[in-house]
């Protein structure tokens, strides 16, 4: 029997996208704002989450999914704040996918939650390609990184709704221009909402939390 050519036209990520759509429906049904946090390793995702959750849990029901290549260290740090936390160990993969997120959502009391943070694997490239079913992506960048990061990794900035600059308390010690970094980010995505924060001094955290709260569908 000879070879036969069949037309397919199927997106390689269609399986991921189908599961992402199902996750999105679960979040929407429960009236949850689901935030996919993306950044390089070491930008301060966990630290920002610690300070944010510690305060926001006073007026919102917050849940967390913490992704890492290996270890449950981030989840262990976050669980101390008395909020439901699920961990995903990707076992080598450089990003979370929709199936992994869907697999742990059952462990969170979704109906009781207003806001779910998904802390993606530290990586500014791959996580931006995989829809998890989140309401929005938020990209973090610390002031110890290059101001041109938005130009080098445009997809993460183009697909995000907000940019959180972290570690602003280090500004006196590093050659980093907030204006240049923000201008670079806005040149990629003019709709990007930007926050300048420090988890240590709590600079900018109030504004960041108020904005997040305003995005929650239940409120």
């Amino acid at each position: 029997m000879g070879a036969k050519r069949v037309a397919v036209k199927e997106n390689v990520l269609s399986a991921n996208d189908r599961i992402a759509a199902a996750n999105r429906e679960r979040f929407q049904d429960a009236g949850i704002l689901a935030v996919n946090l993306i950044s390089s390793p070491g930008s301060g995702k966990t630290m920002l989450l610690e300070r944010t959750v510690e305060r926001m849990k006073a007026w919102l029901n917050v849940g967390i999914v913490a992704g890492d290549v290996q270890t449950r260290n981030d989840a262990d740090r976050l669980v101390q704040y008395g909020v439901p936390v699920e961990a995903i160990e990707t076992g080598g993969s450089c990003h979370l996918n929709a199936e992994q997120l869907g697999g742990v959502l059952g462990g969170l009391p979704l109906q009781a939650l207003d806001l779910v943070f998904v802390e993606n694997v530290g990586n500014l490239v791959c996580p931006s390609s995989f829809d998890l079913g989140e309401s929005m992506k938020i990209v973090l960048m610390s002031v110890t990184e290059g101001e041109d990061k938005p130009l080098k990794y445009p997809a993460a900035f183009r697909r995000s709704s907000a940019l959180v600059l972290t570690k602003a308390d280090l500004l006196p010690h590093v050659r980093f221009s907030v204006d240049t970094a923000v201008a670079n980010a806005l040149s990629i995505n003019p709709a990007l909402r930007t926050f300048v924060t420090s988890a240590y001094t709590e600079q900018g955290l109030q504004e960041w939390m108020e904005w997040l709260t305003s995005q929650v569908p239940k409120h």
Binding site: N11, A15, V125, S128
Partner: protein, 112 residues
């Protein structure tokens, strides 16, 4: 960076298509990869070679690179993008959406 995951995803899609077409063997595969899909072609080719051969034996992969096309978010002009920083040739803005070249799609399979 995630080319191995993509190759595994492609292998699974091929498997489902084989069942759908009641075919016994996969001999060829056509793939469109957009220039803005964030995929390294050499790496994908390598990973595909490994995972497809393991499952299906010898498969001829034809990978087509689709050029990147952007649309300026300020003046709406569409233009081809080759190298960063992708400034709009009309108004100079750097803000743009992906209008083409973001695809990562299986276009055909050759089955026996």
């Amino acid at each position: 960076m995630h080319e191995l995951s993509l190759a595994l995803e492609i292998r699974d899609l091929c498997e489902r298509q084989l069942v759908r077409h009641r075919a016994a063997r996969l001999s060829g595969l056509g793939l469109d990869v957009g220039a803005l899909a964030g995929v390294d072609l050499e790496s994908l080719r390598f990973c595909l070679g490994v995972v497809l051969e393991e499952r299906f034996g010898d498969v001829l992969c034809e990978i087509r690179r689709v050029p990147g096309e952007a649309q300026c978010l300020v003046c709406t002009r569409r233009f081809e993008v080759v190298e960063a920083p992708f400034d709009c040739p009309d108004c100079g803005s750097r803000a743009r959406g992906v209008a083409g070249g973001g695809e990562l799609q299986i276009t055909y399979l050759e089955v026996e």
